[in-house]
């Protein structure tokens, strides 16, 4: 579905991504892990065309998109929904106007049709009766849900989640993780989740990738990831991984956990 090939990006003299390659298969939920500043969010911005890579290619459904013009990249963007780290809701608009934004901008749907879609998408994220509220009146978890409803409004083929659980309490984190799993089940969309929250990562991933110093150092299913004997990966995974992972009888885990 999305193929990242040998992407390089540097800011000043620092290479954030240094020849990164990554495959995101259709229908999978791929979690991209990495330390803060390892270039996870930069990668999402390059996939969506917000940032240009210095070199390398991004393929979306058989089309190379990193050199496309504005018009072409905008038509690709309509197939992608993105939940930003801060939710990035338009604070001058109501919740309903936020969710309806893409429909208002890119379709000729009537107000009634748009309103029906808004209600449907808000129900999908378990939010009802908030249509007329302003983003400032919502809690952190509700803002993320509205951001997700807005990302879903145009029925995207891919949803990108940038740190979906950052800044949320444990209960809300669990609810957001459940929501990501539910949407994957119900809509069969391809999802890319950037996070360093291991609880969230193991909770939603069907595949995981680890980025370190601008390169992919591990890739596989959650079961495969915990069997990769790499000190950086294991330190990362074991810090905050859920109990069901930590309690597994696995020789590599045992070694890193010192049991």
């Amino acid at each position: 579905m999305i193929s990242v090939r040998n992407i390089t990006k540097k800011f000043g003299v620092n290479y954030v991504l240094d020849g990164l390659s990554l495959e995101i298969p259709r229908g999978e939920t791929v979690v991209i892990m990495g330390q803060s500043g390892s270039g996870k969010s930069v990668l999402l911005k390059i996939i969506t065309g917000l940032l240009a890579a210095d070199s390398g290619e991004i393929w979306f459904d058989g089309t190379e998109i990193s050199r496309l013009g504005t018009k072409e990249i905008n038509s690709i963007r309509r197939k992608i929904g993105m939940l930003f780290q801060s939710a990035a809701l338009f604070d001058s608009m109501t919740v309903a106007e936020n969710v309806a934004f893409m429909l208002d901008q890119h379709t000729d749907l009537s107000k009634r049709e748009v309103s029906e879609i808004v209600d449907e998408k808000l129900s999908l994220v378990d939010l009802d009766g908030v249509q007329e509220m302003r983003p400032a009146e919502l809690s952190g978890g509700m803002r993320k849900r509205v951001g997700l409803a807005r990302a879903l409004a145009f029925n995207p083929e891919v949803i990108l989640y940038d740190e979906p659980t950052t800044g949320l309490d444990p209960v809300t984190c669990t609810e957001i993780n459940q929501l990501i799993r539910d949407l994957h089940e119900k809509l069969k969309v391809t999802s890319v989740v950037v996070t360093h929250d291991m609880h969230s990562a193991f909770s939603v991933a069907t595949r995981m990738a680890m980025i370190h110093e601008g390169k992919q150092i591990a890739y596989g299913s959650p079961e495969e990831i915990i069997n990769i004997d790499n000190p950086i990966l294991q330190q990362f995974v074991l810090f905050g991984a859920p109990d069901q992972i930590l309690n597994m009888e696995n020789p590599i885990l045992r070694e890193y956990l010192g049991r």
């Binding site: 911005k45 969506t48 963007r77 992608i80 338009f90 604070d91 934004f101 145009f154």
Partner: protein, 274 residues
Amino acid sequence: MDQQSTIHESSGGFYHLIKIWLHHVLSEVGRAFTLFFQTLVQIFRPPFQFDLLVKQLLLIGFNSLTVVIVSGFFTGMVLGVQGYIQLKPFAVEGSVARFVCVSVVKELGPMITAFVLAGRIGASITAELSTMKVTEQIDALEVMGTNPVKYLVVPRFLACSLMLPTLTIFSTFAGIAGGFIAVVTLFDVNGSFFLLEVQKNIFVGGVLISLIKATSFGMAIAAVGCYKGFSISSAGGAEGVGIATTGSAVISLIAILVLDFVLNHVLFNILGLI
């Protein structure tokens, strides 16, 4: 020898600093003009979102009307009082109406309106856009396939360019009214004579100069306000928003003064308008 090399090194360091500063200023100017030309292109590209324009026209125009009228009125009063006091020793105090009228129409009407809007609207445009930038709202617009220049800059640019001349008309009338009230109530000047002099001294050329200046000032305020809002780094945070907003007001005021000088030279000396 050591002293000479120290002087040479320090002058080299000074030139290096000047070079860096010049590079920075020229890059900023280049980026600002790029945004300006992108805006001009987007104005003529569909879709035309009139609802966004109307919203900005109301915000910029209607909400600034009171402060523009009050500023114009008191500027006119000061001009009337000062003009009368300065002209009286030469026994030409009868020219005070001409003095007020010409000053307000050609210079102070557009200038005072532009100063008020640079502080009120230019800074608020920068604060709004830079906040949107640091909270990723501008990134969200782009990801949703909406051009931020088209959606955010074009309505503000058009509204400023249209409302500044409109508000200038109000501030000019207020200025002349202020001058009239000050001179007639405080000094021994006949009201009918003052109004007759005003009528004699308002020319099409003068009004045209006023409107050309006001439109140019409006474009400059919007261009600077939007550029400063867009140019903030996403990691700038609240401090970055504050710095961008202050910078916007200062640069707008300087741009207005520089533009005023250039337009005065072009309109009076080259085109010969009076």
